[in-house]
Amino acid sequence: MEETVMESDCVEMSGPGTQQEVADAWEAVTTALVSPGCSGSEQSLSNSLALLCSQGLGRLLGAWLLESLQTRLSYSVVPEFWAGLKQPENELEEKDRALVLLTTFRTLLECLEPFLGGLEKLGTWQDEGRGGLCGPGPRGLQDRAFTTIRALLLFSPSPVLQERVLEFYSRTFTVYMNQEGGDEDGAEAPEGPEGGSCPGCEVPTPQCWCQEALGHLQELSHILSRLQLLEWVSSEAVTSILHKLIEQRMEQHCRGEYERSFLLEFQEWLELVLGWLSKVFASEADRDGPVPAAPSGPGVQTGPAASSVLKQWRCHMHQFFCRIYVNMRIEELFSIIRDFPESKAAIEDLKFCLERTNQRQQLLTSLKSAFESRLLHPGVHTSDILTVYISAIKALRELDPSMVILQVACQPIRKYLRTREDTVRQIVAGLTGDAEGCTDLASELSRGDPVTLEMQDSDEEGNDPEDWTPDPTDAVPDKMGSKRRSSDIISLLVSIYGSKDIFIDEYRAVLADRLLHQLNYNTAREIRNVELLKLRFGESHMHYCEVMLKDMADSRRINSNIREEESRLSEDEQPPLSLSAIILSSEFWPPLKEEKLELPPVVCQAMEAYTHRYEKLKAMRTLSWKPHLGSVTLDVELEDRTLTHLTVSPIHAAIILHFQDKSCWTLEELSLKLGAPKELLHRKLALWQQHGVLREEAGGRYYVVETGSSKEKLERGVMLIDSDEERDSNTTTQSEQREEKLQLFWAYIQAMLTNLDSMTLDRIHSMLRMFVATGPVVTEMDVNELEAFLQKKVREHQLMVSAGVYRLPKSN
């Protein structure tokens, strides 16, 4: 605007005589600028220029040129461009669409070329100061012109452009990769039914336009870069192509493949892709140069501009790759963890990529929910949960040495395991190597250099303060601090419950079971386990177990002593029964199940004799037999067959011994004779029914089957008898033991209620925590458990509850 005003001023100031000359000079100069072909002599041009400058019009030349460019653009070029692009509707072949795209851009360039040339020329004049001309030079003018072009052309872009460009680039990419990559991707190219289809352009080979496409690409790149539109037109398409292709390739190659690393492979592939990119952005390099024909072939374009653009794209690509890879692996992380030792490569890849993308939070959330939906529901066996947890520990400590991911992601597992009743039993079974399919724990236990569970108290491990690194931001702030964020599998498992006593108790129970079920006194394996556990849990905690093992050794010695004594007896004084015993130090064994059982006289006598000999051996000591424990090896001789070397429990033996005297017993009679409840006997009798020794008849009578025909055997095979297959544990169960421990608190609760009259559940819980903080039991006891316990007391009328408030009954 301002310039227009100035122009009119100038015109007014100059005399009418010169006006015509000025107009002619203007005409000459502008013609020379816009149409490079027809120019007058250099001399006259210089004169005209000088005249214009002397009239103060020289500086208006640039403005005029831009103005006319703008007018031209908005009135004809831009509408033509869009019309040209849209004009052929969808009927065209892909190849032709590419051609249309190219032609449109060609036309665009043709239309704008005069102006660009003019600007350049003007700029040169300005630089030279020809005729006193001054101005921003070619660069400045062109920048403004390109801004105008961009603004007007892409002011309201139609999606057609993006579509076409995308299509064209995708095609040239395929073609390029096909040529450069050789047959690497060949297998994936769709083999048309005609067979002879070109893998690059996917048309029958005779019509292959691969070379043409690459030529087009070159030209298009050149035009776009000449108009400085390359970045604006191509970036989006290139980005989306790269994204799509990396994703595609990843889906094809990496999904479900955890056993090898893909980083290098992708690195190579990305380099190849970079070759294509260098073609797309080829002409960036010679943006300034007027060379119309771009150099062909990769590797030639090494101009500084090009390499910086390519560098940028390389970074982008790596970013894409990492992000896509991390996304995919996050999705698969559960499976990766499940397969852990085999999927180590995938974990390492993920670690590398995760460090480059900010997706830890995403990983945590997704892994947590995967655990919750796939693992932590009632349908999964506890041992399987433990197996996955162990793999997770191993995998995640690879992934994140700071253990934060492990700690946060596995929190739900730990919480859930706490609610499972058999968790401790499974862990202990794993530790002792009894659990099937779960050998990790046993091998972890026997691993050298164990982490003592006590060691966590030492605060300063002599670490260099300089080595300190802060926790990642997603760490759970807790008082434990990073020092205690252990990666040791056993300590992690044991700490699920917060105390190791519960594990040691459980181990004691398991050990008792195993020892009592042993026929020989062979304890080598148990001794080894106890020694290993001692390294973990500390000597004092395993003391009881050591005494138990010593009992076994002592028992063996006492047995051989007694045997020897017996062997010195005369023939007819020989005991009728070969009896050996496991002699326990009752204070050190876990509480054993009490069951009433009257053994047959012959056994009782043998036991008495044994006790007698023991008393002689150990002064002032005697034995208290546990008739229902132990095992018996016996043969059953029937009329037509003999069952030899059956190993049964004492109650089974007692039953069958009674049948020796009398071949028919009712349940009542047996129950009376054995002093055992009928239900128990009924279950135990099933074993002999299965062996075909006894048979049940109406009225609850059992008979000896002296002659077993094959037909009967067949029937027996079909007959379903609910025998107690599961091996009864000799020790009281964990829940019973807990009950006992809770009973300890009853005195506290009673005292509190006596003093404070009434309390709510939460209050009782927190008071117990406060007063009885020493033992491990309270910390493990959650409110629900306490509530269940109190409810039981209410049912037993030892407590009253109303409106959530507990009080003691008034009567006492």
């Binding site: 010593k550 002592d554 070969s578 009752s586 036991m607 132990g630 018996v632 090896t633 016996l634 004492p650």
Partner: protein, 84 residues
Amino acid sequence: MKVKIRQWNGVASWLWVANDENCGICRMPFNGCCPDCKVPGDDCPLVWGQCSHCFHMHCILKWLNSQQVQQQCPMCRQEWKFKE
């Protein structure tokens, strides 16, 4: 039918023939061991006095050693004599 028992493995627990459950000195069960011992039984035996009170041997010896003037049973204050 005839049943032949080849081997009977029984389970029993041993106990001291004493008239009390716990040691009057350390208050630990007789069938366990005194606080200084790890293993019960032979390694931590009981002894009886003529007054028929009994203690862990280690416990009563410690007690007797601490007595300056006269050696008495800690339970009944009679003179302590080991029962033969």
